[in-house]
């Protein structure tokens, strides 16, 4: 009872204290104080300049000058801290009547700084004692990226993590993560994402509330996650308060964004001109061509801007230009308060972001408010509590209620000459070929949609020191709740369009204008609950140390629309033993269960073992001047993947509602019921056996460090249905079985150089590179006639298709119709029957892989490769010179292939739209220089075959960021209560170097069904009070 009372009193006291801190934002109340001065030196007695001297929980600070001197107003009881990059921070409480203080600072060793604490599952670990492969990036690096989606901002920054952005949807969503490449032939290759150790997303978190993002890559780090760790884990840690002076930080930034690359659509003149060329090449006689010569001239006049041109009869619309703003505005403001004492620490953030919509018409924008309050309170000497609360509200307005894919789809698929946006009489233009699709109508006359998503998370954690019971023992308990709901309010209307006929009258297309209707619905409601508890034991002996913990966790997600909540439960125990500060042995054993499998097959054991040897501690290396750190690491163990796709309770035979049938004279449709999935009680998770070998190196007092890891991941028991190998005569699809197998391997490495070159110049260079490969060892496939047809043996996601071999020449077409080929002609494949029907000169010719004189699917073989890169890299440079700072970040991907966007491939197909590629297409005149096949308005299936012709090298290097900043000199702002003012200019997504010019290599759909990537120029200011 006593204990509880003391808890409450302490809690009250400190809460009150905290609130005082939070709301009395800047306290200028100067306590009576003396002036303290002194000299700072290093351990060898050299004078240190630039040392930051602050008084905790105040706004007072000072910096040592060139002779190591400082002076600061301080009084008895003040806590001073001395910090300098490369040295251990020193804290000192000032005694009575002290006016002079000399400090000696010691240099840092590997693993000594706070940054050297690496996040691991449920805790942090000193880098020195780490035996597994984990890479981390801090907010300092990714906060320089200005993407709305924080997930996109990680590209190239974390060693071993592939980040692929899929253009921007309206809300900036769309990122795929792959840790060390593709692993399974099933759809789920994504890592588990945890924010503060709870399963949450972080795409819409404010970059300034995130402390670090780490990627856990090997069995040593992942086994603890049991059947959910196989694809890796991304751990996000939010910022917490530190024991230091109280900071109030205001960030403000305004950005201007423009679309980087737009699809190159033909103008009306080129469209009509080439359309008839295509028709002629199809063999359509000249009197049946769609556009007459005067009509083509009409389009030409409009395109050339001839003054009396009839733009209503001969419209020329550039949809991208007419419906998108050239520049949109992005703003972000946030206010952070952070600080702390021995007793209580806090981090509070309030942020607002607003992205102006890109469409010219209709109400469109996206805004977001984020808040976070992370508080740690030491309640008594044995009990610490941490409380995290965070939330956000996202609000989006969409014109006409149309998603980006609908509007961009319209821009991309409508020919420039299809119709004028407005007819001469003011009505909306349109044709029966493009009913209801006038973008002005879509944006302005078909209503609007407002979507609001609200998120709220709260965690509370208690940490109880049980040293009184057993020395070194502690207990941690944590509970969390997450709420989400989303609401859509939509106004829907329909509009009519009108087409001008030859006789000057208009014909109405589609439905006539209708009254708008309002709808309101919830898009979802989630309630998540998580629980975590662990006992930890730490013991240090003279020569060795042991750290052990045993833990239990569970999670439950209730979502509207699902009957049974998603559940996760697991136990794990871990131990780490270090001997003589150089031999480290870690072991993990977890026991986790999954709802996806049958009773008796639910739980599994996932062991891992890892070891490290710090060779630089050995006597023969200890005094080496150049090599300051050398560690060898190795790990081996298993993890699993229990949800290779979104389907649940995979073991059970599932019956459900299917299409039914109605009887009776008047239709009374009723549902049917059917087996929708066969069951398999023996089903289990996919098993991943991971091996990792790593070397960590530090040179020149660790200013230069290098890490390289080689890995092999063997994925077994992949869930596969035998459908490709089973006849459809069975009439029913077979259940999943655990028989697929893949292997992936590669290396990842990172290099970092961080040095204060001289008094005024600080240089940091970081780079990483990863190369991976994968191979299918076993998969569901039928027996093949030719060995090159097997998926087995190829990489995961390997495309199969025809191999192209240039275009047919007119000569060959003529000779083919004559027959009696010469030996030389047979050598050139004149006698090979092409499977695409009527072949004309200029059509794509394919290679007869199996030499059976006919081109059919038996000739398809492995071509190009996956769009998920096998090679990734990132390079960041940052410089600080006096009050200026500069940063540049490059991101690259290689060994990947992309399939050309449909609009580029299908010029005029079925009378559809055409792109600039049509200008380079084959015609009898351009036969020798053409790089695209013959144009055709019909479905020229021969040229559409899935072949290497349409694949492009998808490698690229993007200049993601350049930032130049200037901080006002400390002298200038001294005394006005401000400790720092920094202004900066930032360019994001500035350039892309690649093999394609007219679309984005990272996401080929960008501009066609999604927002194109945006280039953003931002100016901003940080003020620290």
């Amino acid at each position: 009872m006593n204990w509880i009372c003391s808890f409450i009193t302490t809690y009250k006291k400190h809460t009150a204290y905290l609130f005082l801190n939070l709301f009395v934002i800047v306290s200028f109340a100067q306590t009576a104080s003396l002036s303290l001065s002194g000299i700072v030196t290093d351990s060898k007695g050299n004078l240190l300049s630039g040392v930051n001297v602050i008084i905790q929980e105040s706004t007072k600070s000072a910096i040592t000058d060139e002779s190591g001197k400082f002076s600061i107003p301080a009084g008895a009881g003040d806590i001073l801290s001395f910090s300098l990059s490369g040295y251990k921070t020193i804290t000192k409480e000032l005694g009575k009547n002290v006016s002079e203080l000399n400090i000696s600072m010691t240099e840092l060793d590997y693993g000594d700084t706070e940054q050297d604490l690496v996040p691991v599952a449920y805790s942090n670990k000193n880098k020195r004692y780490l035996t597994s492969a984990i890479s981390t990036t801090s907010s300092e690096d990714f906060a320089k990226r200005k993407d709305l989606n924080t997930m996109n901002n990680l590209a190239g920054l974390v060693n071993g993590l592939i980040v692929m952005s899929t253009g921007w949807a309206d809300t900036g969503l769309g990122t795929s993560f792959y840790v060390r490449g593709l692993k399974t032939t099933n759809s789920n290759n994504s890592p588990l994402i945890l924010v503060d150790d709870v399963e949450r997303t972080f795409g819409q978190l404010n970059v300034n509330e995130i402390e670090s993002i780490s990627v856990l890559k090997d069995a040593g780090a992942l086994a603890i996650y049991g059947n959910r760790g196989a694809n890796g884990v991304v751990l996000v840690r939010t910022k917490r308060g530190n024991i230091k002076k109280r900071d109030i930080i205001i960030n403000a930034q305004v950005g201007m964004s423009e679309f980087q690359r737009m699809p190159a659509i033909l103008n009306a003149y080129d469209y009509s001109r080439l359309y008839v060329t295509a028709q002629s090449l199809d063999g359509i006689s000249s009197e049946n061509l769609k556009y007459s010569d005067p009509a083509i001239l009409g389009y030409k006049n409009v395109v050339d801007g001839v003054s009396n041109a009839d733009k209503y009869k001969y419209p020329n619309v550039d949809f991208y230009q007419d419906f998108l703003k050239p520049i949109t505005k992005q703003q972000q403001y946030d206010l952070t308060m952070t600080g702390g004492t021995d007793v209580a620490k806090y981090f509070v953030l309030l942020g607002y972001m607003n992205q102006e919509g890109a469409y010219k018409y209709g109400d469109n924008s996206f805004s977001r408010v984020n808040f976070r309050s992370n508080i740690d309170v030491q309640l008594n000497s044995n009990l610490t509590t941490s409380m995290n609360m965070s939330g956000r509200v996202e609000n989006q307005n969409t014109p006409g209620g149309h998603y980006a894919y609908e509007l961009f789809g319209q821009f991309a698929s409508t020919p420039s000459n299809a119709y004028p946006i407005f007819n001469e009489d003011g009505s909306l233009g349109g044709t029966s070929d493009f009913t209801d699709d006038n973008p002005y109508g879509l944006m302005n006359r078909s209503g609007e949609r407002n979507q609001t998503n609200r998120f709220f998370n709260a965690d509370i954690q208690l940490k109880l020191n049980l040293s009184d019971l057993i020395k070194g023992l502690s207990w941690t308990g944590k509970g969390g709740i997450d709420f989400y709901d989303g609401v859509i309010k939509q106004l829907t209307g329909k509009f009519a369009t009108y087409q001008l006929l030859d006789d000057g009258t208009y014909t109405n297309n589609g439905t006539i204008d209708e009254a708008k209707t309002t709808n309101f619905w919830y898009t979802g409601k989630d309630r998540k609950f998580s629980l975590y508890t662990s006992f930890n034991y730490d013991k240090n002996w003279k020569n060795s140390r042991l750290n052990a913990s045993t833990l239990f966790y569970m999670r439950e997600l209730n979502s509207s629309g699902i009957a049974v909540p998603y559940k996760t439960v697991g136990f794990a125990t871990q131990a780490s033993y270090a001997l003589k500060n150089r031999y480290i042995l870690d072991g993990t054993l977890s026991y986790t269960g999954s709802e996806n499998f049958a009773r008796g097959h639910r739980f599994g054991l996932f062991p891992a073992i890892s070891a490290g040897w710090i060779i630089s501690e050995e006597s023969f290396l200890k005094d080496n001047q150049a090599l300051s750190f050398l560690k060898l690491r190795a790990s081996y163990g298993t993890t699993g993947l229990d949800k290779p796709f979104s389907d649940r309770f995979l073991f059970r035979e599932k019956w459900g509602t299917v299409t039914g049938y109605s009887f009776g004279v008047s239709p009374t449709y009723k549902d049917g019921v059917d087996i929708v999935r066969s069951g398999n009680n023996n089903l289990k998770w996919e098993t991943s056996i991971k091996s990792n070998l790593g070397i960590d190196l530090g040179f020149l007092n660790n200013t230069l460090s290098f890490t390289i890891d080689g890995f092999i991941d063997n994925r077994k028991d992949i869930l596969v249905k035998r459908s490709a190998s089973t006849s459809s005569t069975s009439g029913i699809s077979l259940p999943y079985e655990n028989f697929g197998e893949t292997k992936s391997w590669g290396f990842d490495s990172e290099l970092s150089f961080d040095k204060q070159i001289n008094k005024s110049l600080h240089l940091t260079v970081k780079g990483n590179i990863m190369l991976t490969k994968s191979k299918i060892i076993n998969i569901d496939e039928s027996e093949k006639t030719y060995s090159y047809q097997y998926l087995t043996g190829n990489s995961i996601d390997q495309p199969f298709g025809y191999v192209s071999n240039g275009f047919f020449t007119q000569d060959e077409i003529t000779r083919r119709s004559e027959g009696n080929f010469t030996a030389e002609e047979i050598e050139m494949g004149y006698d090979v029957i092409q499977n695409g029907g009527n072949i004309h000169a200029g059509d794509i010719k394919y290679v007869d892989t199996n030499s059976d004189k006919i081109i059919d699917w038996n000739d398809a073989k492995a071509i190009a490769g996956s769009s998920v890169p096998q090679l990734i890299g990132g390079l960041s440079l940052s410089l600080k010179y006096k009050d200026f700072d500069f940063a540049a970040q490059l991101v690259g991907m290689g060994k990947r292939y992309i399939y050309m966007p449909g609009t580029y491939m299908n010029n005029f197909n079925g009378g559809g739209n055409a792109t600039a590629y049509a200008l380079q297409a084959w015609t009898p005149e351009t036969a020798s220089t053409a790089i695209y096949p013959r144009l055709s308005i019909s479905n020229n299936s021969n040229n559409q075959f899935y072949s290497d012709f349409w694949f492009r090298n998808g490698a690229f290097i993007k200049l993601k960021t350049i930032e130049i900043g200037y901080s006002l000199p400390a002298k200038l702002i001294k005394g006005i209560g401000i400790s720092k003012i920094r202004t900066y200019v930032n360019g994001y997504n500035l350039f892309c170097f690649d093999y394609v010019n007219d679309f984005d290599p990272e996401d080929t759909e960008a501009g066609f069904s999604r927002y194109p990537f945006q280039r953003i120029i931002t100016i901003g200011m940080n003020v620290v009070f």
Binding site: G660, P667, D674
Partner: protein
């Protein structure tokens, strides 16, 4: 002792934790249905019956676009390859039917295996007796057996090769739910036999015709109609190269059984004249339709097929080849000098069905107005991508009540599988082959000629006396033409031409269209134009079994030359 207790406690505690965790992860049994639940509930048993029905073919025009009936206006559709000869076992548009009908057959098997536990009477039915439930079980069993037979027929018609006596695989009874199946093809005769066995068993337990809320269920008449069609196919030249007369007699007999029922008849002349024969296809439970797909309220047919200026996609463009098959009102083909056909007034005094079935230039088809398919007219060539390519639009099945422009969706549709007119035509064809043009064997009441005349009289088409005296082979061509006209767009032509072995004659060559130009003064000028060149090869009499299916099976033999 103390140590032991601790161990026991520990083990007990551990097992409690592990068990409770297992329990925690149990989904609970409300999440999914299972088989036992389905076949022990009134609601679900009936729903399962509906599931099997749902595998019946729906409105399917694809075969019209691959025959000489029509061209699909969509130039990027897969019919381009189907018609230019570039199709194969990978892209045959009917490939889906293989897995679709086998899925239907497997579901029929599952039903028949579990029907004994199925419940078909609700608790609140006053007459809840085991006997009643038994009767209903038998009835549903009959319906499902017919459906299985129908599915096999659809497979056999496509993939069966009677010339090599190769059918499709027949699934054995009592398959376990997870059995994988790789079966070799049964013979053509075995398949025919299997269909007949199911039909014969089913016809005993089902009423001749269903009414009101049961309308659309399998009846005895539907079963007899399937038998009639099957036996006609079996007797036809493709499957009967030796022209075994017995086979024609059996086919004639099968058609006769339906005629003798006297439950179905042709809808009378005045009714069909009043609404362009639409009552057959849009008024449920009429006396002509023997079996059809579910009745639906929808305007999607109109949306797909009305001309562009009517808000439709002008999908089906009837060919000049088909238009030319309609005789003149005098009852002669337009090629016959006695027909009175005038090429400069091609639609004048023709078989009325031409106007009923084909959307001709100038026709008023709904309140939106007239079709203008002349060059420059709002539905003429090249006005829109969906404009006609042949000069014609389809009119058969189009309900004038459905107005796309005004978004009125009042239209009743159902896809007819069997109607009495087909039975008469089956009868006429089989009778002529078996007994000659006008003979009426003992026990029969109609000659081939009589049956043909019934069809023609109903639309007011004269049958010249000379027809009765034609030699059998010439008379047969008249029947074939009658079938082509009367049953156009109903999914027959593609298969009829094949079973007659006349692919080369009708499907290999040019599809024609009509270019209609406004004359300088009044009226129009008509020019027949080439629209598309069609390729037919010998192998195309039989459809290719889907590539993947042959690839993954060790036993399945592909059809010749595919």
């Amino acid at each position: 002792m103390k140590k032991l207790n601790f161990k026991i406690l520990f083990v007990a505690l551990l097992s409690i934790i592990v068990t409770s965790c297992e329990n925690y992860l149990d989904p609970g049994y409300d999440e999914f249905l299972d088989k036992e639940e389905v076949f022990s509930s009134y609601d679900y048993s009936l729903k399962y019956v509906r599931t099997v029905y749902s595998y019946l073919p729906g409105t399917d025009f694809s075969e019209a676009f691959m025959s000489d009936e029509a061209k699909n206006t969509d130039t990027k559709s897969s019919y381009v390859e189907m018609n230019n000869g570039a199709w194969n076992s990978r892209n045959y548009v009917g490939s889906w039917t293989w897995s679709h009908y086998y899925a239907g057959i497997r579901r029929a098997h599952i039903f028949l295996e579990n029907v004994d536990s199925a419940i078909f009477v609700t608790d609140n039915t006053l007459k809840l007796t085991p006997e009643l439930n038994d009767t209903l079980r038998k009835q549903y069993k009959g319906e499902i057996r017919f459906l299985r037979a129908f599915f096999y027929f659809e497979l056999l018609k496509r993939f069966g090769d009677p010339t090599r006596n190769l059918g499709v695989p027949i699934l054995p009874d009592n398959l376990l739910s997870n059995d994988s199946t790789d079966y070799k093809r049964s013979t053509y005769d075995e398949c025919v036999n299997q269909i007949l066995i199911d039909c014969n068993a089913a016809e005993k337990v089902l009423p001749v015709r269903w009414y009101s809320s049961d309308y659309g269920r399998v009846s005895k008449a539907a079963i007899l109609a399937l038998k009639s069609r099957l036996l006609l196919y079996v007797a036809s030249p493709l499957a009967n190269p030796t022209n075994d007369i017995e086979k024609w007699k059996t086919a004639a007999e099968a058609a006769k059984t339906i005629i003798d029922l006297k439950v179905y008849k042709l809808i009378d002349k005045s009714t069909v004249q009043a609404d362009n024969m639409l009552s057959i296809f849009t008024k449920p439970n009429n006396d002509e339709v023997i079996f059809c797909n579910q009745v639906e309220q929808s305007n999607s047919f109109e949306k797909n097929n009305l001309p562009p200026s009517f808000g439709g996609s002008g999908q089906t463009n009837p060919t000049q080849n088909l238009v030319d098959a309609f005789e003149t009102i005098l009852g002669y083909p337009i090629t016959d000098s006695k027909s009175g056909y005038k090429p400069n007034e091609p639609y004048y005094r023709r078989d009325k069905r031409l106007d009923y079935f084909i959307g001709l230039n100038g026709a008023t088809i709904n309140s939106t107005g007239k079709i203008e398919s002349y060059v420059g007219g709002k539905d003429g060539f090249n006005i829109a991508l969906t404009s006609t390519k042949t000069g014609y639009y389809i009119r058969k099945f189009i309900d004038p009540n459905a107005d796309i422009i005004k978004n009125r969706t009042i239209a009743t549709h159902f896809w007819v599988y069997f109607r009495y007119a087909e039975i008469l035509l089956n009868y006429a064809e089989a009778m002529a082959n078996a007994y000659g043009v006008s003979s009426v064997p003992a026990g029969y009441s109609l000659s081939a000629y009589d049956a043909l005349k019934l069809i023609r009289d109903r639309v007011g088409l004269t049958t010249p006396a000379i027809v009765k005296t034609l030699p059998v082979n010439e008379f047969l061509e008249r029947i074939k033409n009658e079938r082509r006209v009367e049953l156009c767009f109903e999914g027959h032509r593609f298969w009829d031409v094949r079973r007659w072995k006349q692919g080369d004659l009708y499907f290999n060559g040019t599809i024609k269209g009509m270019k209609i130009t406004k004359a300088v003064t009044t009226g129009y000028l008509y020019d027949i134009i080439d629209v598309e060149n069609r390729v037919f090869e010998n192998k195309m009499y039989i459809m290719p079994i889907p590539y993947d299916e042959v690839q993954k099976s060790k036993l399945l033999e592909q059809n010749t030359s595919w």
